[in-house]
């Protein structure tokens, strides 16, 4: 491929990149609507990293994971071509990198030549996979799409609140006739997830960290930290599609200077595990030497770019920490008994152990929940549960007619249930707190929980109370654990009726 073809091909690559970014955003928004259909979750079924982590932790193969085989095939054939051509986070970083290039040139010298700078991403990959094997699912902290989708899910309300604040300052009101048309146009994008998600700041902070790395070097995240990029690099060790020649030519540093990932070592060697086939070097080669071609693997001449010994050392060191962590009952690292109000998505019930293995914290369910009922958990069961979804009925009810999270979950952690099956597997049962519930405490009417109970033959019944007003009583055998009662309780702060875990209730007499 000549230089002229190369520069045209770069535009093709950019178009592909933008198309893939648009696809992910479309999936995200589509998943957030109340209509059934695709969601951001689909993207994760093609993500070999999270599927591998789920497989290692759960020690079972899920049919849901089959699309990841495409990704594996792509990696075997073309190495990190995914990073240069498809990855939406990489595309965002390319755009962000253009905006911040002046800062990078001003503040930092390029450290790309160092081999050691590559090691963290292999160490991170080894750490999350070994941790998964040891029962500590951390992949969501570093998988690029989990970072992106969780931040999108969490970032919506803060962004909207910010836009409202600006609009209020500028126009005197969040919505004015002048902006009414714009508001109506934006409405489909604003429709879901009422309220602010729990731990929204953590999801945003993790993504900000990724973008901050860009200030230290072009595609800094991809060079140094991304475990998915590391995985594609390993898969592509003997990939037939590659850039040639395998070194920069003596006396010319053009390809080294143009390489986004700094893939050329100090001695001019091209590290295959860093090359994303972005074609910048091909387009910039004045002698028309650089090109991309298919060459069958020749193991004897494969460049020793991984520095095997260093990788093994780094992997062994990185593996120790999470393995120890997973098996020590050390708070807050190990798994602790779930608090009675820790509810999991519908169908999971009290099966926390298996759920925390299979769940990769991708955030697709948070994005898909039309009621804003699912939120990232913190350390309520220890590090093993960090960022796993929990059902928070006070923020949003688990609507009885909705099965979105189970339909979409890309690893099967949330079971796929019909509407009828879902009511048989409540995430918890409603319990009245008589020390908070209004008509139990004082002579005032309420019964908002009874009003909103969606069970046709109300699971909350009215009964004579201690004062003149009727009080609510839960008919536990009818409760489907939707949490509407907790959501609508008019008390400020904690509700007077709350869902509690099934395993926290006494066994039936």
């Amino acid at each position: 491929m000549s230089a002229g073809h190369g520069s045209r091909a770069i535009w093709v690559r950019r178009a592909v990149q933008l198309g893939c970014l648009a696809l992910l955003l479309w999936l995200f928004r589509h998943g957030a609507s109340a209509e059934p259909g695709a969601g951001a979750a689909w993207w994760f079924r093609f993500d070999p990293l999270v599927q591998l982590a789920a497989l290692l932790a759960d020690r079972s193969v899920q049919l849901l994971a089959w699309p990841a085989l495409f990704a594996v095939a792509l990696g075997l054939f073309a190495g990190r071509v995914f990073c240069g051509w498809i990855c939406p986070l990489g595309t965002l970083l390319d755009l962000w990198g253009r905006l911040t290039g002046w800062f990078r040139h001003l503040a930092w010298r390029d450290r790309s030549a160092s081999d050691w700078a590559r090691l963290p991403r292999f160490a991170i990959l080894a750490a999350v996979l070994l941790a998964a094997l040891g029962g500590l699912q951390l992949v969501g902290l570093v998988d690029p799409f989990s970072l992106l989708v969780r931040a999108l899910a969490a970032g919506d309300p803060p962004l909207r609140a910010g836009a409202d604040a600006v609009s209020t300052l500028a126009l005197g009101s969040a919505i004015e006739p002048a902006s009414e048309a714009a508001y109506a146009a934006a409405l489909p994008w604003l429709a879901a997830r009422p309220g602010w998600p729990a731990l929204w700041w953590l999801s945003l902070a993790l993504l900000v960290t990724v973008f901050a790395l860009e200030l230290l070097g072009r595609r800094g995240w991809c060079r140094w930290a991304c475990p998915l990029g590391a995985l594609y690099g390993l898969l592509g060790r003997w990939a037939p599609l590659l850039r040639l020649p395998s070194r920069s030519c003596a006396g010319c540093g053009d390809c080294r200077a143009s390489c986004d990932l700094g893939a050329f070592a100090a001695d001019g060697r091209l590290r295959r595990s860093d090359c994303t086939l972005c074609l910048r070097c091909v387009a910039g080669c004045e002698r028309d030497r650089a090109h991309v071609a298919i060459r069958l693997p020749q193991p004897s001449s494969a460049p020793p770019d991984l520095e095997r010994r260093r990788v093994l050392i780094a992997g062994a060191v990185a593996a120790g920490v999470p393995l120890v962590a997973a098996h020590l009952p050390l708070a807050p690292l190990g798994r602790q008994t779930p608090p009675i109000d820790l509810l999991r998505p519908p169908g999971v019930g009290d099966q926390d152990e298996a759920f925390l293995d299979r769940c990769v914290r991708c955030g697709a369910c948070l994005a898909a929940c039309p009621e804003g009922a699912l939120h990232s958990d913190g350390l309520s069961v220890g590090l093993a549960g960090l960022l796993a979804p929990r059902l928070s009925p006070r923020r949003g009810a688990c609507d009885p007619g909705c099965t979105r999270c189970g339909d979409l979950c890309p690893t099967g952690a949330i079971p796929r249930l019909s509407v009828a099956e879902k009511t048989l597997h409540p995430p918890g049962l409603a319990v009245i707190d008589r020390q908070l519930c209004i008509p139990y405490l004082r002579d005032e009417s309420c019964l908002v929980c009874e009003e909103h109970c969606p069970v046709a033959e109300k699971a909350i019944q009215r009964a004579a109370g201690p004062f003149s007003q009727e009080v609510p009583v839960v008919a536990a055998e009818r409760c489907i654990g939707c949490g509407w009662c907790e959501k609508v309780c008019p008390l400020e702060g904690a509700a007077g009726i709350r869902l509690v875990r099934l395993d926290s209730l006494p066994a039936e007499q």
Partner: protein, 317 residues
């Protein structure tokens, strides 16, 4: 005949000016709208005037609102050409039309069409839903019915708390301030289109209770002292007209129901300008007396209308 709310009333113009001033004003200390002027204007008929209540029965549910309105002189007696109208059905629940939790879509569409025929400039339809708003609008059948009218003057919108205006209710006994949606405050004619159904706490959901759909904020707190509070809130924005859907009524497990055994087909629609009279009449559908429903008595006491059915002229069409 009934009182005729005139959009050109000077007090109404004052009120609209207040709304505009509020919208444009500095919001660091939000001014409160004082709506008692409006309440007085559109409020109760004089005690000696007998309000007319039109009742229509039949199986063509689209025709029932038209027949009931004929007894009141037709929609053109209320909706002036070029005016802006809000039609406020009950779309509160993610339930289908036959489950009886929401106003029937045929009734809603019929009322909207009558407003258009009377010459309305815009007809806005909305409700603040209790369940997911997309599902409520879709599964109630109301989105499809309103969109099928396919007239650019008709808008099916969602209410938004950011579009709410705090209103002072000086004569309120328990509530003296609440934020209401601007569309309902600003429109020339606000037409209440409730469905008649059972409600656990207040016994029945009828027209006066349907005002909760224009309330922003935490509506849960309404339920402590609900009867007086509904009367207080209703005073802030009385409807021009109430058209009550009793084509089928939910007898038990309200207000959202779910079982078809709890629903009884009654093939009835009523219309009245007096909000208390129509609610008082509707208690009879359930075998109750007007005094059995607390907010009807509270509203009558507050002077919002007449609950003594002997003083209402009921026209069976």
């Amino acid at each position: 005949m009934t009182t005729d709310p005139q959009p050109s009333d000077p007090r109404r113009r004052d009120f609209l000016r207040q709304v505009a001033a509020f919208a444009a004003g500095a919001l660091l200390v939000p001014p409160l709208l004082d709506l008692d002027a409006v309440a007085a204007e559109a409020g109760p008929p004089t005690p000696d005037a007998r309000p007319v209540l039109g009742v229509a029965t039949g199986t063509d549910w689209s025709a029932l609102p038209v027949t009931a309105m004929a007894a009141l002189g037709g929609m053109q007696a209320f909706v002036k050409p070029g005016s802006t109208v809000v039609v406020k059905p009950n779309i509160g629940w993610d339930r289908t039309p036959e489950q009886g939790a929401n106003t029937h879509p045929l009734v809603v569409a019929s009322v909207v069409r009558m407003c258009l025929t009377a010459g309305a400039k815009t007809v806005r339809v909305f409700d603040r839903t209790c369940n997911n708003r997309d599902k409520c609008y879709a599964n109630s059948g109301i989105r499809a019915a309103v969109e099928a009218i396919a007239d650019p003057r008709v808008q099916l919108t969602f209410p938004d708390d950011r579009k709410a205006i705090p209103v002072r209710i000086a004569q309120g006994k328990l509530i003296t301030e609440w934020s209401l949606y601007r569309e309902a405050l600003e429109c020339d004619h606000y037409i209440n289109v409730p469905v008649a159904k059972h409600h656990g706490l207040s016994r029945l959901t009828l027209g006066i209770k349907n005002i909760m759909g224009i309330m922003a904020g935490n509506r849960g707190s309404i339920h402590q002292g609900i009867h007086q509070k509904l009367a207080d809130i209703y005073r802030a924005r009385p409807a021009t007209l109430t058209i009550l859907d009793a084509t089928r009524i939910l007898l038990r497990n309200g207000p959202q129901g779910g079982k078809l055994e709890d629903v009884e087909v009654r093939n009835t629609v009523a219309a009245c300008a007096d909000p208390v009279a129509i609610d008082a009449w509707a208690t009879g559908l359930f075998g109750l007396k007007p005094a059995d429903v607390g907010y009807i008595a509270s509203a009558a006491e507050a002077g919002l209308g007449i609950m003594d059915l002997d003083r209402v002229r009921i026209v069976q069409a």
